[in-house]
């Protein structure tokens, strides 16, 4: 077996995968008659060269960090949680209920309460698929997909029939009371100036960073995290070691669902300040790309979320100033998932062969001594 050095596995493989995705994306832009270099510089200009652009980039990155971490935690237990979208929707519902119906005296308390509610609602939405997988063997991928659709129908019902203010046409809740307003980056850093003006990035971003640290601690520094990883590597071995399959499956999915649900803080409380239909905008699915690209490590997830935040904001700028439709970002996202996820071996096999050849040229390895000698 040709083994690669750790740095190649962690950095080189994803880098080449992303490079391949980028080359193909450039070809797609060429194919629709636009200039990829001009498009890229426009994206950089729109997303990174002005503070408002950064405000949007970081806002999107916050969403993707939460959903990316959600998918990553499930990946560690070798489960594929496609239900981030639905869990984020229901998490947003929890956030909205708490923000609307509890009279909060201050935003810090409101944020704490909404964090609890968003996490609980998201976790609850992940519980049934998790429990069915653990006890009845229903495939979690299928059930979480189904729960995405059920969540969409539920949210639609709640918004149209229950939470919509009297007389309003739009399926959306009432605006949250001012006390629940979360400080935006403009509130925090502009000091009356124009820094981050009008951009939706808010204090939730720091919560997302905290979530990265918490997930790192959980996965690599706690007993539960060890059990999750052990279960992910080999469920039979984990069972022999006395780890309960049901417990780990359910706990890992609860954590995953709670992380996805926390995304609702950013979109619902931080940006819209009311609950709208389709607040998630597919961020739950982007979490899949982010987790794959970040190799399910919180640092990787955070960096990948930043990249996708940049792509999202840059893509919006592209659609605004050129004839390149916003859907280009969906294509890039698809290519990233394809190359970093499904076609991983296509990159890995030649690299492993190359490193193997390199090692062979450096001379044969000393033979391992066996204890019998």
């Amino acid at each position: 077996m040709n083994r690669m050095p750790a740095w190649a596995d962690a950095v080189l493989v994803p880098l080449i995968s992303i490079l391949l995705a980028a080359i193909l994306s450039a070809l797609v832009i060429l194919a629709i008659g636009e200039n990829p270099v001009a498009a890229f510089s426009l994206m950089v200009e729109g997303a990174l060269m002005r503070s408002t652009g950064w405000g949007y980039t970081l806002y999107y990155a916050t969403n993707f960090t939460f959903t990316g971490l959600a998918v990553a935690v499930a990946f560690h237990a070798r489960m594929f949680n496609i239900g981030g979208e639905g869990q984020a929707m229901i998490g947003g519902l929890g956030v909205a209920l708490v923000a609307l119906y509890i009279p909060w005296p201050h935003w810090t308390l409101a944020l704490a309460g909404a964090t609890l509610a968003g996490g609980l609602f998201g976790a609850a939405w992940a519980f049934i698929p998790a429990w069915l997988q653990a006890t009845r063997g229903s495939h979690i991928v299928i059930t979480t997909i189904m729960f995405n659709f059920i969540a969409a129908a539920l949210l639609n019902y709640v918004l149209v029939n229950l939470m919509r203010p009297v007389g309003a046409m739009e399926p959306a809740s009432a605006t949250f009371p001012p006390a629940t307003h979360l400080p935006t980056f403009q509130d925090m850093f502009a000091f009356g100036g124009t820094l981050f003006r009008g951009s939706p990035a808010n204090v939730t971003f720091f919560l997302a960073v905290l979530a990265c640290i918490a997930v790192w601690l959980l996965i690599w520094r706690t007993r539960l995290g060890y059990e999750i990883r052990a279960f992910g590597h080999s469920d039979t071995a984990a069972r022999y070691a006395g780890i309960s399959t049901v417990r780990i499956t359910v706990l890992a999915m609860l954590i995953s669902g709670a992380l996805a649900g926390l995304m609702g803080l950013n979109t619902t409380m931080g940006e819209a300040e009311r609950l709208v239909l389709n607040a998630t905008e597919g961020a739950g699915f982007i979490g899949i790309a982010v987790a794959l690209m970040g190799r399910s490590h919180p640092v990787g997830v955070f960096l990948a979320a930043l990249l996708f935040g940049f792509l999202y904001q840059g893509g919006a700028e592209l659609a605004l100033w050129t004839d390149i439709p916003r859907e280009l970002i969906t294509v890039i996202q698809a290519l990233v998932i394809l190359f970093t996820g499904a076609l991983d071996n296509m990159v890995r096999m030649p690299l492993e062969a190359m490193f193997g050849a390199l090692r062979a040229r450096r001379g044969p390895k000393p033979k391992p001594t066996s204890p019998r000698d």
Partner: protein, 321 residues
């Protein structure tokens, strides 16, 4: 409810069930060979776009259909490359293909037609016209049976009849041909098929090609039969409902017909009635929207019979050395 209303609902049940049925049979071939296919949705979507675009450009619905099938088969080939050749994760590959279709269709539509991600409406030549079966009008006066024949059985586009024919055909291929036997075997015990000297990869690629063909038909029917043109995200989760129907049907063709008709019926009801008044309480339309998914979860949970998937599903086959 009178006969005319019932017939209308059933007629739209048939129309809505056909894309589900074709996609479901596509999934059946693929999953019976051991390749899980989440990408049914994307294949249908890309087929819907290319069939509408080519039908609009050439004025020929048949050329459109071929283009749709070709596009769908390209996605199948990518899925095969990722999950068979490079032994990647089949679920992730399917998810990627769904996004690829979702992005590419709207993007190309915008670049080609500049109509906000849709194709222009198709005229008569670009659509599948409804076929009147013989004696439909002469038999209409016969009470009950006449309208059933004229309204429900006659007057659909060719792809509807093709879709229904695919059910016995699928059954026959799977249960009565050598290819079908090997296909089923490769989904249960690929190592046995390999030992017998039959190519596992070849069989699985063949199954994916059939799945691409059937999804192509489903997409073409959506854009050029059911509706007159492509609109963004026009599959609207049908690929996932088809996946649900496949589990509901326990991976069997005749059951798939039943499941798809049931889910088509639910869609027809949701389309026709906004909220259903049952006297004591009303069923909101969202419940009808969610019912296929809820039913699938219940089935998956094993409360109504157990759904056992093909044993080797989802695992790449590694040849022994």
């Amino acid at each position: 409810m009178d006969l005319a209303t019932i017939l209308q609902v059933l007629d739209s049940t048939v129309r809505l069930a056909i894309p589900l049925l074709l996609a479901c049979l596509a999934g059946l071939f693929s999953e019976r060979s051991g390749i899980i296919d989440i990408g049914l949705e994307g294949k249908m979507l890309i087929a819907a776009f290319f069939s509408a675009a080519v039908a609009f450009a050439t004025g020929s619905v048949w050329l459109g259909m071929l283009a749709g099938i070709a596009a769908s088969m390209v996605l199948s080939a990518i899925h095969g490359l990722a999950s068979i050749t490079f032994r990647g994760n089949q679920l992730i590959s399917g998810v990627a293909l769904n996004f690829l279709a979702s992005g590419l269709t709207v993007m190309i539509a915008q670049v080609w037609f500049s109509e906000g991600g849709r194709t222009p409406s198709l005229m008569t030549g670009g659509r599948f016209s409804d076929i009147a079966l013989p004696f439909a009008e002469t038999l209409r006066p016969i009470p009950v049976l006449g309208p059933i024949y004229a309204e429900l059985i006659s007057g659909h586009s060719i792809l509807v009849y093709v879709g229904f024919l695919m059910v016995p055909l699928t059954w026959w291929v799977l249960q009565r041909t050598r290819f079908g036997l090997r296909l089923r075997a490769v989904g249960e015990a690929p190592e046995a098929v390999d030992t017998a000297g039959v190519s596992v990869a070849g069989l699985r690629f063949a199954a994916l090609a059939i799945a691409g063909l059937l999804c192509g038909l489903a997409g073409a029917y959506l854009a050029t039969g059911l509706q007159a043109g492509f609109v963004r995200e026009m599959t609207a989760g049908r690929g996932y409902i088809a996946l649900a129907a496949l589990i509901f049907a326990k991976w069997r063709p005749w059951y798939a017909l039943g499941a798809c008709l049931l889910f088509g019926f639910l869609q027809a009801i949701a389309l026709r009635y906004q909220n259903i008044d049952l006297g004591a309480f009303t069923v909101p339309v969202q419940v009808m929207d969610a019912l296929p998914y809820i039913l699938t979860v219940v089935i998956l949970a094993g409360f109504v019979g157990k759904a056992i998937p093909p044993r080797a599903g989802g695992q790449p086959y590694v040849k022994e050395r």
